[in-house]
Amino acid sequence: MVSLIPHGASARRLAAAAGLIAALSAGQSLAHPKPWLGPGTEVSADPATQPTPNPEPWTGPGGRPVYQAVQGPEVPPTPGQAKAAAYDQILMGRLLRGEVHPAVAPIELSGAGTGPVPEATSSPLPCFSDGTQGPLPEGRIQDATLMLMATYDTPGLTRGGVAAYFGTGTVIRSDEALNRVLTAAHVASPELIDSTGVPLMLRSVYAFDGEGRLVAELGLSYAHTGRIQLGAITQELVQEDLAVLTPIRFPSEEMARSWQGRGVEIAPRQSESVLFFYGEGGASLISGGFSGAALYDPDGQVVGLVTETVAFTETARPAPDTAMPEAVLNGDLSAMGMRDRQLLEMIARAPSEGVYVDSVAAGPPLSSPALLSALGIDPGRISTIPALETQTLYSAGFPARECRDTWVRHEPRPDVPYFERPDRHIRLNTADPTIFTERPGFIRKMGTDGVISEPERVGGFGMEAFSATIDALGRAARVDVTDPFAGPSPEKDMEGPR
């Protein structure tokens, strides 16, 4: 049997060796008279045909083979080792099948802090496909899929300031209450550490739909308690990289009323093992921003989420542009804090930065009772199986702030178990969401049952005061002057979900 040990090797090296690996795996002997290996140097996958090696090439004191002393008795792999082995084996399989091809001119991967933004070279695509590609009809997945913009205070920087990170969240239908948003903990977490070591403190989370409309401001209701290092795939993070968000503010009554109409269902049978998957033929776009996207089975039910990828970065290539950044700029953002809005507008001015990249990704299933409870789902109605049998999964998200949906190939790995880490999460209470109305100084509230209250006046905030506040906000460099939700929202052009 031939096996590849790819640790740390570049995609170019692995691809260069792929043909050789395939030939050896097929039992082909690479021997004379082929021009490369000469007589006496035959290499074959069949040990019986091998030249006799030095019988004791690695001997230590007393003639004991060194490697035996080093290896010691066999011990079960840790979850991290099992996960690394799964990645290696899946990557090797992709190489053997010829699915991975190094780009002629490798490009830098884009995303938060990872390199320059490539120029957009083609016409924008529609956001998501036309709604017929996915497993559910009538755009239900598209309506449930939200781009999350999490803004963080960066107190460690000299200037101080705000940083924004983008990911994907999915509205999950609750059994009992307000629909909630599932995402990855490294997208929205009380504290993060960026790739340069700067600590980040969560400031706010905004959710946008596929047309760039601000849907809601969200608050964490199931949060990771640790400080997650961005860009680092730790050995165990995939086990606990989950978060749940609840709406705390809606920018308009339309968005509030549509909220309970959004959402997708959790599959009643969840995997007991970590999910591994990759784009068919290396043609999918799995890169930064897809984090937190839901994974759907062919029936359109959620079976997990995307939390980490191992990418062949040398195979990255620019992807066609989508209209998402422009849509964000055209939308009404008055419900965002001034500084957050300015940050979004600055980021969105950059060209779309999507890339295709060959990768293998992984994520947890949704079997944790604590997580299910936080989603408002009765854990008792969710059962588990060792591994999902389906070879096909579907996902929709916002890689590089572009809206994409894709089918992915699932490789069941029952040897990489998923285990709940309830000690790494905490439930947080969030206030009933406030709804920004068109009447100056009036708001509505949405109860935990999703019912919207009658408008109520708040704080004597009339149009004059509101206008003065907005004017002051526009001219002021300082932030957090006031709560912009306490005034009217000119949301006439907004529509509910499709």
Partner: protein, 90 residues
């Protein structure tokens, strides 16, 4: 001057372990002896004219390899560059 090559993958066939190099990275020659050292980033195998780099996770496979062959991989063929014997100073 010693060139650094890698990190390198390994191909285990059972009886031999191949170290695939890109074309032109190393000249064909006779058996080589490499001295292995370890630093924070990985394993460094010093041979004449070059230093071969391996991920730390490759140590077990390198130690267990009954025979190491340096090869150039091209398509489905391999050109033998020579045997490699390691000495461990770890």
């Amino acid at each position: 001057m010693s060139r650094e090559i890698g990190p390198l993958p390994l191909i285990e066939t059972g009886a031999v372990t191949l170290i695939p190099l890109l074309t032109g990275e190393l000249a064909a020659g006779g058996p080589r002896t490499g001295r292995v050292s370890r630093d924070r980033t990985g394993l460094r195998v010093t041979i004449p004219t070059a230093t071969l780099l391996f991920d730390l996770r490759s140590e077990r496979a390198l130690r267990a390899a009954p025979r190491l062959l340096l090869v150039e991989a091209e398509g489905d063929q391999a050109r033998l560059l020579g045997d490699l014997t390691l000495t461990w100073d770890l």
